[in-house]
Structure formats: C-alpha cells, structure tokens
Amino acid sequence: MRVNFTVNGRKQEADDVWEGESLLYVLRERLGLPGSKNACEQGECGSCTVRLDGVPVCSCLVAAGQAEGREVVTVEGLADFAKNRACGGHDGEGKGGACGTTLQEAQGWSAKGTDSQTGEGGELSPIQQAFIDAGAVQCGFCTPGLLVAADEMLERNANPSDADIREALSGNLCRCTGYEKIMDAVRLAAARQSETASSQGV
C-alpha cells in the first residue's frame, strides 16, 4: 500500500508498504529517518516516541496506515518544531515544522560548524541543548524518545515539579544514566525557557 503523511513539516509518500509495518519501520527503513529508535518494538521503552498530530506515541505500536494524512514530528525535526513554537507559529496541536523549513535544512544545521568538543554552534531546541549540557546523554539510544516526550511535557507544563517530570517520562527507559542527569536536563531546559520567557516579557 501507499501511505501519505507529513513528517517534520514535509509531505512524505511511502510506497510498497506492507500492511503489518509500523510507523517506526516506515520512518527508519523507508524514509531515511532512523532517529526514532527500535529498542523494544513492543511499546515498553519509549525510544521510538514521536508526536502524531501533537500527541506523543510509541511509533512502534502505530501501524503505518494509521498515519495516513496525519502529521508526525520526530527527533530529526524537533529543533525546527521547537523553534516554530517559540516564534509563535505553533498552536499547540503539533503543526510540526510549519515554518516551512525542510527536513534537509533541518538536518543541515547539525552538519555545519558544530564544535565537536562542546556541541556549541548548532541550532538545537532548548531540551536538546540541555541534554548535552547536563550530561544526560551516554549511549544515547533512549535520548530521541526522551527528548520528544520531555519537549511535549514542557509545552504543556512550563514549570514542572520533579514528580511531574518523573510522571511524564515514566514511559521512557534509560539504562545508562540512572535518570539523574535526565532530571537535571529537564529542569535546566525549563529554567532556561522561563528565563527566555521573562526576558521577552511573556
């Protein structure tokens, strides 16, 4: 079958999709977007978390056909998605990348001029930068799903308590960090977000 949907603001068409394929498989193996991860493929680990019409879902549990006509945001589009939201273009319902930045452009920034020592120089979303700065990335396999989930939580709840963070991220397994640096990263992103908001008089 053929599936048409929007990924990170860009129309995509996947052909010859077998009916049993998951959205995760189509993203990873047919659309060249392997950022969403395949740690369990049974909806337990959250490493494949994407936004589907704004709602965080395990893309391994979504049949590709269910994405027909819908909007998907993956970790590859997260920076643009967050930027778009920050510049006021986001209505809270997951119009990912609607600023018009193409995926190639979205990927372009990370390839250019990033200081490989510090991770500075690339254009990242606040939650992505906070994960790097706080040491929340080790092997990094859980990171894409956690970033999408944490970004969605901060969208809903700009000033989360620790218990709020833990509840929101309880569907995302991490085996390396013991979660402490992930907590630090989300707190850091929230703090930076509120600083930005107050400096802009929001």
Partner: protein, 799 residues
C-alpha cells in the same frame, strides 16, 4: 547535594595543563549533538542499497538432539535468498568463544539451551525472513535438562559437553564444572576456634540481564576481494575479529570491522551475537545483509549475569574483629563457557569483600547447565559476592550488638592490607572513609510525599496505582560497601594501542586520536580528547572512528578503558610531544638557548618552557611535517591464581564504592519505593567529573534493579526462559529510581595514569546489598535472595 571532591594527588602525577578542555574538566561529549538530533548512526541504523535482512531460527527447547532439519519450504518462499544450517558452514572451524571455543555458530546435532541458533535466513524484507524461518522444520528428540548444581554434578549426570579438552578440563572436579578456583590462606578452621560468634548464611542471586537499549545489530557488506566489511556494535573489535575470521575461512585482513554506534553494552556485547551470521549470509548471497534483533530475540542473543548460590560463614571476636571466613560460591554458567572462568576468578578473589580477614577457605565454581549461557555483566562475579558478604556483615554486627558501620570500619581494609590471594593492596583503599562519608550525607526528610493537601501518591510505594496514601508504609535504611578489580586479571596480556597524529591544518595545530576502543556510551571518546589536549596543548582534537585498521584497544569492560586505552593515548601523546620537540630543536634550537636547557611543554598551541616563556607556535615548528605514532601500552603485569591455593598477584587495581539506601515499604502489599540511594566512591582522579558522576549513578541504578525487580525467570522443569520482554523483565523507570547524591573522593593511585581509578563497576556492587539491607531494616524479614518481589515481602512465598 553538590558533588564534593577531595584531592590527594601526589607530586609525581601530572597536573592539568593550561589548555582548555583538558583532563579534570567536565567537557561535553563529542557525539552529543549527533545523539540529540537523531543523526548518530547506531548499528541498527545501517542501511545499504539492495540490502537483505537476516533472521535467526532459534531452538524452542533447551536440551535436545536434532533429528532433522527441513529447509525446503523456507527456501521456496518468494523473497528468500538463502537458508543456512550447520552443513553450510564453510570451514572446519565451527565453534567460537571468548576463552573456550565451545559455542557452535549453528547447532550441530544437539541444542544445549533454549534459544540456541539453529538456522539462518536472508530475505528482502524482515517479515519475509521471519516467516520463512518459521517454515523451517526442525525435529527435536528432547533430553533431560540440567538446571542446577545437583543435576549437574550427580555422578550419572548427562554431560553438557562431551569430551572436553579445554585447559580447565583437567583440573575441575566434574565435567559439568567449567572452572573452579579455591583460595586458601591461613587456617580458617583454627581461627574459627577463636571466634565468639559465628554466622552462617545461604544466599541466592537471580539472573540479571544487561538490558542495553540498542539491540544486537549490524550490517555485513561483501567486498570484491572476497572479504567482508562488518559494521557492528561490540565491546571489543579485535576479539570479535579473531573469532569471526576463522569461521568464515578468511584471513583477518579481509574482515574489516568498523564500530558503529553502540546502544549500551554492560558486558552483554563481549560475546559475539549476529556478527558471524550476518557475514555468512552476506558471503553466501553476495549482498549486504543487515540483522537487527528485536527485544525478544535480544534476551536470547546475549549472555546474562550468572545467577548464584552463595554459602558463607564468618566468625568474629567479642571486640568486633573478624576471625575467619569460609565460603562457597556456585555460579550457573549455563550451556556455554563465555566468560565463566574469569567470573569465577573474580568471585573467589573478591569474595571476602573490602575487609581484613587473614584466615579464609574459599571456593568458587561455575556450572555447565542447560540454562541460558551466562558471562560478563558489569561487576563480573564481584556483584554476587558483595550481595552475600554485606548481608553477612550486618548479621555479624547484629550478633555482636555493634553498630553496623562501626563494625565494618573496624574490619575495613586499607592500603597495605593483604588480600586472600596474598596480593598487597598498594594504593589507597579508603573503605572506612567512604562509609563515613556516605553516612554523613543528610538524610532525605521523612514523609516527603506529604503536603498540606495530602499525599502525592506518585512518591509512594505503588505510585499512581494509588495503593496507599501512607498507611502501612515503613521506612528503612541500609548500608553497604564493595570492592571491584579494574582491568583484565590473572596474567592476561591486557594492552591497548593508540595512534596519535599531529599536523597543521589551516595554520592551526590539529591532533587526531585513533584507537579501536569501543565507545559504548561511557564517554571514552570525551576523555581521549581531554588527554590529548592536556598532553599536547592543542585545542582541536579529532577522534577517529574505531576500527580494526589500528591495533587492539582491548575490551570496553572491567572498568578498564580510561585506565588502559586512556593510558595508551597518554603514552602515544608523550611520544608525539618528544618528536615535536625534537623537530623544534632541529629547526629553531639556535634561536633560543632554552630549547636545549629548559623543561619544555606544549600549551595553548605553543612550545613553552616550564617557566612559562613561549618559544614557538606549534604551527611554526611543524610547518608541513606530520608526526604520527602508533604504540601499544600495558599496565603492570598480573599473574594467574594458583589452581590449588588461589595465591598470586592476580589483579591490576582495586576500586571501592559505598552506598546508603533509604527505602519505604508498603508492608501490606510488599511494594518498595527506594527514596534515596546515596553513593561515595574513590575515583583516584576524575578525568571528567560529569561523566564520572553519570557512571556512578547509572551503575547504582542497575544495582537497584537487581535488588527489587530484575530477574530472568527460567522454568526449572524445562530450562525455558519465561519472561524475554520488557513487559515481563522489568528494569527501573524514572519513577522507580530515586535521587542519587554522589560524593566523589580522589585519592591517586600512583601506578595509574594521572592517578585514576577505573570506576564503572564498583557502584553496581554495593547498591544492591544497601537496598536489601534497607528493606530488611523496614520489614524485619531475612531476605536472603535478590531480587525481592512483593511475594517475598508479604509472606506469600518464603525468601
């Protein structure tokens, strides 16, 4: 709590240089940006034009003769390119293994555990491959299963491996014992007569899984020269290569391995998984073949932590001094040897823990059974022992009426203590101090889940299941401390190799560091760049991808990489520095007498004297010359343990951590909430403090997991695995994991580069017994097994 750090660096250890981003700084990961944007290429992300998907058919029974295999229907399936069985293996080498080559690439006539690889399929879609594999008809004639010590060592026991001729076969008491290591020192029986109290205990440790998140996966691409390029996630490229090439019938130079992104390891990638299978399919079909396990298969695709039975006896005098220790540690190695012999060596040599006990009678051995194969996992034999000896320490202290911490401190080892192996601990061993520090940390407030509006159930045992609002909830506190060795032991030639290159690009000096070290998430790549900056005074450092085009780095295991490959990078940098200064003296020596007379350093891209005077820019020294040096580096040698007495300087270095656990238990439902898990650890020198704390917190959490939830359940009647999924094998979520305050102590080991101490494993040891002690403290139950589950706390089943 802030990470407090204490420095005790002796004068002979190099201090950090002036160059930014050197050792001791919390520089950020060089792969961080790629990992947060989804662009970091893990082994399961590999893709190649025209590639096929490989699938493995695994045994559905644990122990059986294979009567027949019929692949015809699978082969006839549209989209299938190849189906391979044992008969298709191209050479006489049909087994592999880390130390003992007892593991069949594909089963031959017999399967020895549930999930053993029997046949391979390559097809143009993973689902086609899966369905074709299901069409392969394997007829089994089932054999009785060996599942425990009694069935393994019975006089008439079926042998898991007939006709053993490995180097342990001659000295083991039974052919179903892989390796046995006794350690005898002093006279435990005589010393026992001095004891005022004697405490005996029997302990059970469950089978833990590494549960790394990135599944076993990789891509094999056949090349025109008849060889193969393999992109894979592993812990040791060169060890893989040595096992893969003979099975394929290829010289090692025709099997070119490149490390792709590794989604965690924790020991589970020391053994081969899909490497040979993907290469066989690629060479047979002439097409690139990708294999990606799903989580179900991953539980069968790698070895686990050895489950163990531990029998301990300690004695002590009234004044609190330990008199003796006797123990027997029985590890279940499962169907194949994997790392079992080395795990036995660790379990026995570290079985007494970080305590002074002069009279010991120790034995540890690993069984061959039909249970899942067990091998390396973070902590490697020391974890099981620590669980048991720390439970014993509490019991002995209680028996004596002493404070549990004070009792441990009274018996704590220190620098100069002699291990049961006769080895002298010749670097700092701050066991008593770590206990003091972890005890001194502020306690988390009582009933912190309660506020004016009532209870926030998210912070209570049972969480959002809303099982309690605080009624029936009891708090407990427990302590534990452990000892782990660092590096490969028992005489192993544990070297690493680094190639370091300095050149001028665009007018700036640039350094490239090339090693075969497997970056599995631990941050070795970060640290290598820091070392190069410190040693060579150059800010811009590139880390070359790890591959087999450079010498072996050894395994990313045993807390050894920062020590050994870090040491190799440091050493190669020092050699490059000498060469650069030589060039400088040759070209510029006549311009300034200091070139000949002063101690020269490289700092901030310049050659400077130790007095701080700048002699030249590195760019002007090198011009278009390139300095490149590849060199092996070794830590001081170790020796094998004597097979009868266990004596010998078998370990490189020791590493220590202590934990305090605070738990709250819903005693009615048996639900546990770990409220806080504080850790104090000596790291020698924190090359990257942020990464050090991350390692400690991660290791601590894996210890928590095996305390309260993680266990692979194997049916004792069939030896089949009952919970191979993340639905049924639970690992800690962010809700299960408490805050983990860390107190980092830095007491330099003068034998190690920069005084550092390998740190990755020690926190996994003491975390588990600390949590268990806290639950015992809350409930008053004996709890001699781990993990403890609700049924063990409510009295539904004894534990």
């Amino acid at each position: 709590m802030a990470d407090t750090r204490t420095t005790g660096v002796p004068a002979n250890v190099t201090q950090g240089s002036q160059t930014k981003g050197g050792i001791g700084e919390s520089t950020l990961r060089p792969d961080g940006t790629l990992k947060v944007t989804g662009e970091f290429a893990y082994s399961s992300d590999m893709w190649h034009e025209d590639m096929l998907w490989g699938q493995i058919l695994r045994s559905t029974v644990a122990h059986a003769e294979i009567v027949s295999i019929d692949t015809s229907e699978a082969l006839a399936t549209s989209g299938v390119y190849a189906v391979l069985t044992y008969d298709d293996l191209p050479t006489d080498v049909k087994n592999y293994g880390l130390e003992i080559q007892d593991t069949p690439v594909l089963a031959h006539g017999k399967v020895r555990h549930h999930g053993e690889p029997v046949a391979l399929v390559a097809a143009d879609h993973p689902e086609t491959a899966r369905r074709a594999a299901a069409k392969i008809k394997v007829e089994y004639r089932e054999l009785p299963v060996i599942t425990d010590e009694a069935s393994a060592t019975a006089p008439d026991a079926i042998l898991v491996h007939e006709g053993r001729d490995d180097h342990h076969a001659g000295h083991v008491p039974h052919p179903n014992i892989v390796h046995r290591q006794p350690i005898i020192r002093g006279n435990a029986d005589e010393a026992a007569e001095r004891a005022d109290v004697i405490v005996k205990g029997e302990y059970t440790f469950g089978m833990q899984d590494q549960a790394f998140l990135g599944p076993e996966s990789g891509l094999a691409v056949p090349s025109e020269d008849g060889g193969v390029d393999l992109y894979v996630a592993t812990q040791w490229l060169h060890s893989d290569l040595k096992q893969i090439a003979p099975v394929l019938g290829l010289p090692e130079e025709k099997v070119r391995m490149t490390l792709s992104g590794v989604g965690g390891a924790f020991g589970g990638r020391e053994d081969l998984s899909m490497q040979i299978h993907a290469c066989l399919l690629a060479l047979r079909t002439g097409k690139p073949v990708k294999i990606v396990y799903n989580r179900f298969e991953s539980f069968f695709g790698h070895v686990h932590r050895h489950p163990a039975k531990l029998y301990y006896e300690h004695g002590a005098t009234k004044d609190g001094k330990l008199t003796h220790m006797k123990c027997k540690i029985v590890l279940d190695g499962g169907a194949y040897a994997s790392a079992s012999p080395a795990v036995v060596g660790n379990a026995s040599s570290l079985s007494v823990g970080p305590y002074v006990v002069d009279d010991v009678d120790i034995e540890a051995y690993a069984l061959y059974t039909n249970n899942p194969p067990c091998g390396a996992m973070r902590g490697f034999g020391a974890v099981q022992a620590c669980f048991a000896y720390e439970a014993q320490m509490d019991k002995v202290a209680d028996e004596l009426g002493m404070d549990r911490i004070a009792f441990r401190q009274l018996n704590a080892m220190e620098q100069g203590t002699i291990m049961p192996t006769g080895q002298v601990v010749d670097s700092p061993a701050p066991v008593a101090e770590l206990l003091r520090r972890v005890k001194a940390m502020p306690m988390p407030p009582e009933r912190q889940w309660e506020d004016s509006e009532g209870a926030d159930v998210r912070q209570l045992p049972g969480g959002l299941s809303n099982t309690t609002h605080g009624e029936g909830v009891v708090r407990g506190v427990g302590y534990a401390v452990g000892i782990k060795n660092v590096g490969f032991s028992e005489g192993f030639d544990d070297y690493s190799t680094a190639k370091v290159r300095m050149e001028v690009i665009g007018g700036e000096p640039v350094v490239t560091v090339h090693t075969a070290m497997a970056e599995v998430g631990q941050g070795g790549v970060t640290v290598h760049a820091q070392i190069a900056r410190t040693e060579l005074g150059v800010g811009q450092v590139t880390i070359h991808p790890a591959d087999t085009q450079v010498g072996s780095a050894g395994s990313t295991s045993a807390s050894r990489q920062t020590y050994v490959t870090g040491g190799a990078v440091k050493n190669a940098c020092e050699l490059v520095r000498e060469k650069v200064l030589e060039i400088g003296r040759r070209k510029l020596g006549t311009y300034h007498p200091a070139w000949a007379t002063a101690e020269l350093l490289l700092e901030g891209g310049k050659v400077v004297t130790d007095g701080g005077e700048v002699l030249a820019d590195l760019a002007d020294v090198l011009e278009d010359e390139v300095v490149e040096i590849e060199e092996e580096w070794r830590h001081r040698p170790t020796v094998a343990f004597d097979l009868k007495t266990g004596q010998g300087d078998g370990h490189v270095q020791y590493s220590f951590a202590a934990h305090r656990a605070v738990v709250e238990v819903d005693t009615e439902l048996g639900l546990v909430k770990v409220v806080e898990l504080a850790c104090a650890q000596d790291v020698g020198k924190a090359l990257n403090p942020l990464s050090v704390v991350g390692q400690i917190q991660g290791g601590t959490t894996q210890g928590l997991g095996v305390a309260v939830m993680e266990e692979i359940i194997v049916d004792p009647k069939t030896a089949k695995v009952r919970n191979p999924s993340f639905t049924d094998y639970l690992i800690p979520t962010i809700l299960d994991t408490p805050t983990i305050p860390v107190d980092v102590l830095e007491l330099a080991d003068e034998h190690a580069p920069y005084g550092l101490r390998g740190i990755g494993e020690a926190p996994t040891l003491s975390s588990t017994p600390a949590v268990l002690a806290a639950i015992r403290n809350a409930t008053g139950l004996a709890l001699d097994r781990t993990p403890v589950r609700p049924e063990h706390l409510t009295g539904t089943v004894p534990a």
